[in-house]
């Protein structure tokens, strides 16, 4: 766990801290963007986290659930989430308007090993809602661009209407310090100008890489990992430099409730970022 980032409600980790939804809008038909500010100004500004960490959002009355933080700690004060409509908590969240109050506790989990990734090449591979946690590390790398070598983004969505952060990612294509490849499995609009095919078809567009000095970051639906990992292993990227951020049902987020226990680890404490090496040795991880 990331000990440097002090937890918001330290004496009682179960207590949610009041936070306000300052902005919310639909990213796709069933995915919504939430920008949130912790009400206590001092806490809002001092709150720190690492890309890849997550928090528990409470809609009091509906419950609380874990969500990746999609914003970057390099832009403090506001927290951003990208949330798909799925269960009780997300359904209640979708009904909430701007200016409503929610509860937040966190940050939890290990996050990406930023220190190790510095002065290395970074390839970020996104499938669908996998953008939620990976946007944080992508923006972090771009905000601290001089600390990393090549940065590449391979992004796959099912169809144009299901691509989240569409304008933001298209705008990134203009940057010369980022290699950005976008794809959709199927173009049902006839207007898609980028690659068509599953996310793995983007690997052929990637410029030649220096595998030993590369970190690959992957997040997407469970079915995606097998195919993406195969490509990364073929590129000779070491297994402990292939990083995945995984999801698991969670109730407490602090290593007690047992829901996210896999092998001898807890996803909420020892994850959600795992290496491919971990995945080989801990079955049930994906």
């Amino acid at each position: 766990m990331n000990g440097e980032n002090k937890h918001l409600t330290h004496d009682n980790p179960f207590l949610p801290e009041p936070a306000r939804i300052v902005r919310t809008y639909y990213l796709t038909e069933d995915v919504k963007f939430f920008q949130v500010r912790i009400v206590d100004m001092e806490k809002a500004l001092s709150f720190n986290y690492s890309p890849g960490q997550f928090g528990m959002i409470s809609v009091l009355g509906a419950g609380d659930a874990p969500f990746s933080i999609s914003s970057t700690p390099s832009r403090p004060g506001l927290l951003e989430f990208c949330i798909g409509k799925a269960g009780t908590v997300t359904n209640a969240l979708f009904r909430m308007k701007e200016n409503s109050l929610i509860g937040f506790r966190g940050p939890y989990g290990n996050g990406f090993p930023i220190e190790k990734m510095k002065d290395k090449d970074i390839i970020i591979i996104v499938g669908g809602l996998g953008a939620a946690p990976l946007r944080s590390v992508l923006l972090y790398c771009l905000d601290n661009r001089d600390q990393f070598r090549r940065v590449s983004l391979l992004h796959g969505a099912k169809k144009p209407a299901e691509m989240i952060f569409r304008e933001e990612f298209f705008a990134l294509k203009q940057r010369e310090d980022l290699e950005c490849h976008l794809s959709v499995d199927k173009d049902d609009t006839g207007k898609w100008t980028e690659n068509i095919g599953v996310v793995t078809t983007l690997f052929s567009l990637l410029e030649k890489i220096d595998p030993v000095n590369t970190y690959a970051l992957v997040c997407g639906p469970p079915v995606m990992y097998k195919f993406v990992i195969k490509e990364l292993v073929n590129l000779n990227i070491p297994k402990d430099q292939i990083l995945m951020t995984l999801e698991r049902r969670m109730k407490c987020g602090i290593g007690k409730c047992g829901h996210c226990a896999i092998d001898y680890i807890y996803t909420c404490l020892d994850g959600p970022v795992f290496t491919y090496w971990d995945v080989i040795h801990m079955r049930e991880l994906i």
Binding site: F14, L60, K251, K256, I262
Partner: protein, 346 residues
Amino acid sequence: MEKILTKKSFPLWVKELVSYKIYAPQKNGDLWNFETIKKPESINLDFPNTVLPPKNIIFPQREVLLEFESSNENKLQVKETLPDDDPTIIFGVRPCDAKALTLTDKVFSGDFKDPYYWKRRNSTVLIGLACNIPPSPNCFCLSVGGSPHSKEGLDILMTDLGDKYFVESLSEKGSTLINLAKPLFQQPKAADKKAVEKTQAEAEKKITRQIKDIKKIPSILKNMFDSPLWDEESLSCLRCGICTYLCPTCHCFDINDEVASSSPVKGKRVRTWDTCQFPDFTMHSSGHNPRPDRASRLRQRIFHKFQYFVERYQNYLCTGCGRCISKCPVGIDIIEVLDKVRDYGS
């Protein structure tokens, strides 16, 4: 501190402890369970194993974590509902159940301390009763590093010597209770100590069930993740979860909001025991379930107790109380399952 307390004096000692909230095994119908005591003379320490271990006194089956109220967009009140820390005594704790609390202690500690658990835990004194006769035919504490007179996790251990108890204080909390009624306690004679040793040696001989070669189990399990054994052994499982609810070491829980009114929104956040034996325990909201069948859930229970917990905390997550064996409605027997695991490894 070692003392002798006659059985006649026992209720007099309890009388001196009235400032504490006192729990002891009570018979209700045919079933024994830990309940609060009003009359000191009603404590009967001649009991078989209680249906539930005393874990629910420290970690209740249902407890309110917080209360919330939101009358409008600008108001959200969250009130923590920590338990009160009334000094509490539990009489008649079996050594296996006391040891189990030392294991759940590990889980509820760490970087995030659980304030609800620790508030009760720290205000409770555990007075154990050595098992001269195994309280259940399925007792196997000796196999998992315990014994019928183990002192682990206890503040006081009492051993029944016929018309008197041999009382051993094991902590400051324990000594305080003895000192509250000093005149009732006598100095033990050499013969008393001998009697205790004899009783204890005999008690160990009376335990018939055991997990053979348990030290080999964790490493054998490591290679058994994909074994067909889990399918075979779990076929009869009804997913009732009783093996985990009655287990003194199982500690998984769920958290849910209970709403009393929707406008203004008012309610409680409640935690309740949960179990890895229920199908939706690991079900994602997307419908994906990484542990989708009975086989993977039985495997999780066995692995957690005899492999994962050993790797994380260097202990088995089992103290050999035998409740999961005695109470399983379809006769799934953890000792028999582990016998098959051992056979698989040889």
